[in-house]
Structures are given as structure tokens and as C-alpha cells.
């Protein structure tokens, strides 16, 4: 009997499995005190900001430059500190 229940139920009902989701800690953009602003006329598409962004919100497009998803950006300022061309500056919210 017990054996049948275990076999027939789908795997998610039998063991505790977490599903991937964007924003497990909510909209982390609300933690931010300083906002990174990108000046794409200075951007040389070196990808430094995208590689080092800890929240994975910066996307560099080879044609247009960098964009930031402000819903989840925590405002740590790593991108502004790293940018070799000073294309990103931090501004208080």
C-alpha cells in the first residue's frame, strides 16, 4: 500500500524540492541607497560590469551598451568602482 503511494505520486510531492525563481528575497531594489546611472556614450563594451555584477542584473549589448535592471539592483557600487571609462556613476536615491 505504502509502496504504491510512493511510486504513483509525482516527485515534487514526495521529496522537498525548491523551484528556481527570480527574486527569492523580494524586489531587492528596495535595499538600494545609491543608484548606478550608465552613460552609454562613454561605454566601450568591455563587459567588466556584467562579469562582476553580484546580482546578475547588468546586461551589456555589443551595439547599445549596458542596461541595469533597477527592480533587483542592490546598489553595491561594484560596477561604478570597476568601470575603466567612468561610464557608471552612483547617485543617491
Amino acid at each position: 500500500m505504502l509502496n504504491r503511494i510512493i511510486v504513483e505520486k509525482p516527485i515534487h510531492n514526495r521529496i522537498v524540492v525548491a523551484k528556481p525563481k527570480i527574486g527569492v528575497a523580494g524586489k531587492t531594489g528596495t535595499w538600494r541607497t545609491e543608484k548606478p546611472l550608465v552613460d552609454n556614450s562613454k561605454c566601450k563594451k568591455c563587459y567588466q560590469c556584467e562579469i562582476f555584477c553580484p546580482v546578475n542584473v547588468i546586461r551589456v549589448d555589443p551595439n547599445t551598451g549596458a542596461t541595469v535592471d533597477y527592480d533587483y539592483c542592490k546598489g553595491c557600487g561594484i560596477c561604478a568602482e570597476l568601470c575603466p571609462f567612468n561610464a557608471i556613476r552612483m547617485e543617491p536615491e
Binding site: Y47, N56, E81
Partner: protein
């Protein structure tokens, strides 16, 4: 490897999802992005109690598109070796088992199970991400905390013992691959993980990861501090395989002690070294020179 068109950016976009529960400026998701670039979703992360188990996020959701197994503090290597053995019996070869533990879960509490798994030579990659104290529980001293550093359990004069060098201990185990890496050099970490992926057996990577909260610096300097640790010679990047030690690219210029930056530059940036005395700086310098002497001896 360091070309302008690097293999990293597009591959590292998918696995780590935005909105994780890490502090601002935390280097853990940066390292996971590199892991994602190497393994994709085909990895099983074994995470004991550490900051990372918080960063993944609370049940029923997780912030990483890979299988994560949360285990008790001392058992990361033991559980990972069990999973690796089960995969091997089932004939699954394209999934990689990565044990991801902090310095407490590796150098202090998980040392016995780590040593056992290394001796049995299971096919896993063990990554010790070293933020040099128990950051998750409130910055207590661990055996990987460096000399002279402030923690909440060494509050006045700082730690009076040197850092435990786990990579050296793992080299002594005679496992196929040992490496040290830094969060400041993701391309170097990428190359090391690619090499570890191609080797069968127990692989150990010691990853240096600055923690803005515990080390008392501004979150924006995470990468700067990680790079300074390498540039001052405090942290040496190397790989050990086939019985030979190879110093990695970012550390190569600093073999010559004259080209290293002064250690004070690294210490000044961090609040945990605020009370350090000149005698202690001299002691750290001696320790750094001794480390370099050992590395040069083996290479």
C-alpha cells in the same frame, strides 16, 4: 585566455537569478556565475550551513537554476561523495558534483569528512570559499582568519595565530588537482574549473572571497580588495597537478618581491585591521615571504 572576447559573459547570464538574498557586494553570486558558465545547469551543489545556504533563498524557491542539496555542517564532502558514487553506479557522466562550503565548514568543522573523501578519491569538485571567519553567524574567528584580524571573538588584540593553509593540507593528501583562486580574477577561476572538470578524482579549489560586512569595508571595494590581496602577495594563485606546482597568470608578476604592492595598502582598506601594530604588520610580511618561498620551492 585573457582576450577581449572572453567566453564568460553570455554563458554566465542564465544560472544565477537576480534577487537573491545576499548582502550588497557579496562575492558568492559572482563565483556562482562562473560556475554556471562552466557547468550550466548540469551541476549538483552540496551546501552545508554557511552564507551560501542563505543566499540560495528560503524554501519553496531557490535563486540558482541547479540542484542544491542542503546538508549538516560537517558532512558536505561525505554527502557529495555519496552522490558522486550514486551517479557513477547509474552511469550518469554529464552531471558534476560540486561541494561548496565556507572556511568554517572546511577548515574547522568539515575537515574530517573532507580528508576522508579526499583519501577515497571520489569524483567531486570541492570548493572552499574563504571569507576568513564565520560571517553567517556574526563574524566569529575561524582557523582561516589571518593573523591580527579583528573578529567578534578576538575583539581587542585580534587573532594571534596564522591562517590555516588548507590547500597545502590537500596537496599532502596526494589528490589529482589542487588550486587556489580569487574572486577578483573570474577568468582564472574559469580556466581552473575547466581543468578540474576534465580530471577524474577529487579536485579541491580554495577560493579567496572578501566579505564587505565581516571585513569592514565599503561594498563597492569587494573586487578591489580581492585584487589587492593578490597584488600584495598575501594570496598566491597556483595550481597543483601531476606532481608539480604552477603559479597562475595573475600571480606571476609578483614572484619578484620588489614588484609586490606594500601590504599596508591591503590592510588599510579593511576595518578589521584598524588596530594592527607595526610589529604585527612585520609578522604578516614574514609569513607572506615564507609562503612565497614554499611556492617557489615546489614550482
Amino acid at each position: 585566455m585573457y582576450s577581449r572576447k572572453s567566453p564568460l559573459p553570455y554563458k554566465m547570464r542564465d544560472v544565477v537569478l537576480p534577487g537573491d538574498a545576499a548582502c550588497p557586494g557579496c562575492p558568492i553570486p559572482i563565483a556562482w556565475k562562473v560556475l554556471g558558465a562552466v557547468f550550466g545547469e548540469k551541476m549538483i551543489l552540496v551546501i552545508p550551513a554557511c552564507c551560501s545556504s542563505v543566499v540560495v533563498g528560503p524554501y519553496p524557491y531557490s535563486s540558482i537554476k541547479a540542484s542544491v542539496v542542503h546538508v549538516a555542517f560537517a558532512s558536505a564532502a561525505a554527502v557529495a561523495s555519496g552522490i558522486a558514487e550514486a551517479l557513477e553506479r547509474r552511469g550518469i557522466t554529464d552531471v558534476y558534483v560540486v561541494a561548496w562550503a565556507g572556511d568554517g565548514g572546511t577548515a574547522d568543522i568539515g575537515m574530517a569528512s573532507l580528508s576522508g573523501a579526499a583519501e577515497r578519491n571520489h569524483n567531486i569538485i570541492y570548493i572552499m570559499y574563504d571569507n576568513e571567519a564565520y560571517m553567517n553567524t556574526g563574524i566569529q574567528r575561524s582557523s582561516a582568519t589571518p593573523y591580527g584580524a579583528w573578529t567578534t571573538t578576538t575583539p581587542i588584540i585580534g587573532k594571534t595565530e596564522h591562517k590555516k593553509d588548507v590547500a597545502k593540507i590537500m596537496i599532502a593528501h596526494g589528490i589529482p588537482y589542487v588550486a587556489t583562486a580569487s574572486i577578483g580574477y573570474p577568468h582564472d577561476l574559469y580556466a581552473k574549473l575547466e581543468r578540474a572538470k576534465s580530471i577524474h578524482g577529487f579536485k579541491f579549489i580554495h577560493l579567496h572571497a572578501p566579505c564587505p560586512v565581516g571585513w569592514r569595508f565599503d561594498p563597492r571595494y569587494t573586487i578591489k580588495v580581492a585584487k589587492l590581496a593578490v597584488e600584495t602577495g598575501m594570496w598566491i594563485l597556483y595550481e597543483y597537478y601531476d606532481g608539480k606546482l604552477r603559479i597562475s597568470g595573475p600571480s606571476k608578476p609578483f614572484i619578484d618581491s620588489k614588484r609586490r604592492k606594500p601590504i599596508e595598502e591591503y590592510l588599510k582598506l579593511q576595518g578589521r585591521f584598524r588596530k594592527i601594530t607595526p610589529e604585527k604588520v612585520e609578522e604578516i610580511r614574514k609569513y607572506v615571504d615564507e609562503n612565497w618561498r614554499w611556492v617557489k620551492l615546489l614550482s
